[in-house]
């Protein structure tokens, strides 16, 4: 990696998270330290219940850590207000949840435009940007359909288009291929990789699927709320491409 690529985008500093269930305090994250650099495609892997999604949500500004904090571009997001974090998520982070959630009454293209609507733009302005992105994910013909009419794979591509709408610094994806078949999952992963490479967008993604490891430039393995390993993926498609070049 060049020096430029080593620019830290996300820094997780000593994050611990306990969930209170009844009178019990259950530790989920037990001291996470992690630095993610610009342009990386980081795969967060590990068994169910190891705290991957919790960490992702902490970085995304939805789950407040019990101890520690998260810096994004030097901003300590957990000392900021709720509204600041909301605006920050909206304007800087693309989010792809495991299940794509939609505003049922709006069309596909209108749903893609939602981040723009939240930021104060009109539907017309949002749709104008959205039209280019729906083309990017190859779903233009579905623009005026209802999102729930589409297949899981198609919906995730639309979710990807939505996550890109406001030109985010990075994308956070929580098992976006979890509900997809192999082919649809591969297609989405390839799309994510293309976008990451071409636009130098940092991607942090949770996955269970070992077949998808090839897409990640770095693999962070978590077990029981701790990072067990954090390695650069020498066998990633990006590295292979570099080697070929």
């Amino acid at each position: 990696m060049t020096e430029e690529k080593k620019e830290i985008v996300i820094k997780v500093a000593g994050v611990k998270k306990n969930f209170i269930v009844g009178e019990q305090s259950i530790p989920v994250l037990m001291g996470i330290d992690l630095e993610i650099f610009r342009g990386e495609f980081v795969l967060l892997v590990g068994p169910s219940g190891c705290g991957k999604s919790t960490l992702l949500h902490t970085i995304y500004g939805l789950e407040e850590p019990t101890v520690g904090t998260v810096f994004i571009d030097d901003d300590d997001i957990w000392v900021k207000t709720k509204d600041w974090r909301a605006n920050f998520r909206n304007q800087n982070i693309g989010f792809i949840p495991q299940q794509p959630f939609w505003i049922k009454s709006l069309t596909v293209i209108e749903n893609i435009a939602i981040p723009a609507i939240i930021t104060g733009k009109t539907f017309a302005e949002g749709i104008e940007i959205g039209a280019k992105l729906i083309e990017l994910v190859g779903m233009s013909e579905w623009a005026n359909h209802r999102p729930y009419d589409l297949s899981g794979g198609q919906q995730q591509r639309i979710a990807l288009a939505r996550s890109l709408l406001l030109d985010p610094k990075f994308i956070i994806a929580d098992e976006p291929t979890g509900n997809l078949d192999r082919a649809a999952g591969e297609k989405l992963m390839q799309l994510l990789l293309d976008i990451s490479e071409q636009f130098n967008i940092t991607i942090l993604m949770v996955t269970h699927n070992t077949d998808q490891y090839k897409f990640g430039t770095r693999i962070v393995n978590m077990v029981d709320g701790k990072i067990m390993s954090d390695v650069v993926n020498k066998g990633s498609l990006t590295e292979i491409k570099k080697d070929k070049n």
Binding site: W84, N87, N92, F101, I114, I117, I118, T119, K132, L136
Partner: protein, 436 residues
Amino acid sequence: MFKIFKKKNIEKTNLGSKVSSNQMRFSAVILIGYRNMSINKLRSFLTVGGVAIGIAIITLLISLGFGIQGMVIREVTSNNPGNIIDVGNNSLENFVIFDKSAIGRIENIEGVKDVEISANIGGKFIIGDSQTDVVVNAISEKYLDLASSNIDLEIKKKLFLNPKSVAITPKLATLLGFENPDDSIGKQVEYSMIIREEMLTNDLEDSKEESQKEDQNKDKVLTIVGIVKDQTKDDAVYAYVPIEEIRMVYGKVAGQSVKVSVKDESMVENTRLQIEQLGFSTESVLDTIADINSFFSVVRIILVAFGVIIMSISAMGMLNTLSVSLLQRTKEVGILKALGAKRRDIFKMFIIEAFLISFLGGTIGIAVGYGIAKLINYIINMIAGKYGVASANFVEIPSIFVISIALFIFILGVVTGLFPALRASKLHALEALRYE
């Protein structure tokens, strides 16, 4: 394919992690609310319909209430201008006549424009073998101008053209031997009257003695110039005779009651007070109007109570719809919050939907309610027209009512939308996304 990104990425890099504080546009929130209502057509239809029915019933009742009140007041005041005061005796024991000095005292009161007297005198009418007792209303032409009278203009003109004229009721004509009252017109009637001594006034030019003398010598014959139908009583037996004729025959008969016209309606109350201070009793059409208004105020209170019950049911329907809508849209709230929507954005979305429902329901309700009221008015007028009854407008929506309804719709929106909107805005994004 990625052209749109290239320029933007440069801007983004320069931007760092600057965050601008924005909120959803009002137009976008309205569109989302409208779309949500459109997608749940039946539910929206039933909820808007519930509000519309409630508002329509209230509008119908209120517009009829105001309309009928207005119509009654118009009827009452059409022949009784608000600036006329009827002045009479304070009590039966204390018999007062309106002689020159009494009239003078009334005329001196500030605001008084005209004072006209009338006298009701008992007497006898005779035509050939037929004779009957009668009450004679001795009046001046000007008195009739001030009074609510059932004498039409033509008869009035004839009555005062020649003082020796009389207008009689149909029943009186019958008692005088005319099977068809109209046959009596043009016929002459002899009369005699019982004038009480107290009714003859000293302060007019002639003395009582002279009056009595004249009584013996005068020709006591009147020509019937018209039939006057009494609108309240078919068997009324009375006659209108110019007071000039009575005075010519019996001397200076004082008034038993007077009509006072006041320069301006706003001065009526003050003038009445001053007349009453002179020891007379007063009546005004304003009393009747006040009674009518008071009656309709009670009617309105009942209607409002009725309306509140109806609208409570509609409001519960709305609250139910919005609560169900919130439950169904919990995940939508979750994703919107996850994507950066703030509490106020979510609050706006739900409160606007409540406003849309109440606004649509209210607008449709007012239009339908007013339309039905107008239709009822039209049908009744059509039926009345067939029976020769004059048409009347008894449907009115005062602007204050429209303002009240607008305010009510606003309050309905706030009250029913507030709870679901607050609940939605307080939802945590992750909990909302996990909601099943």
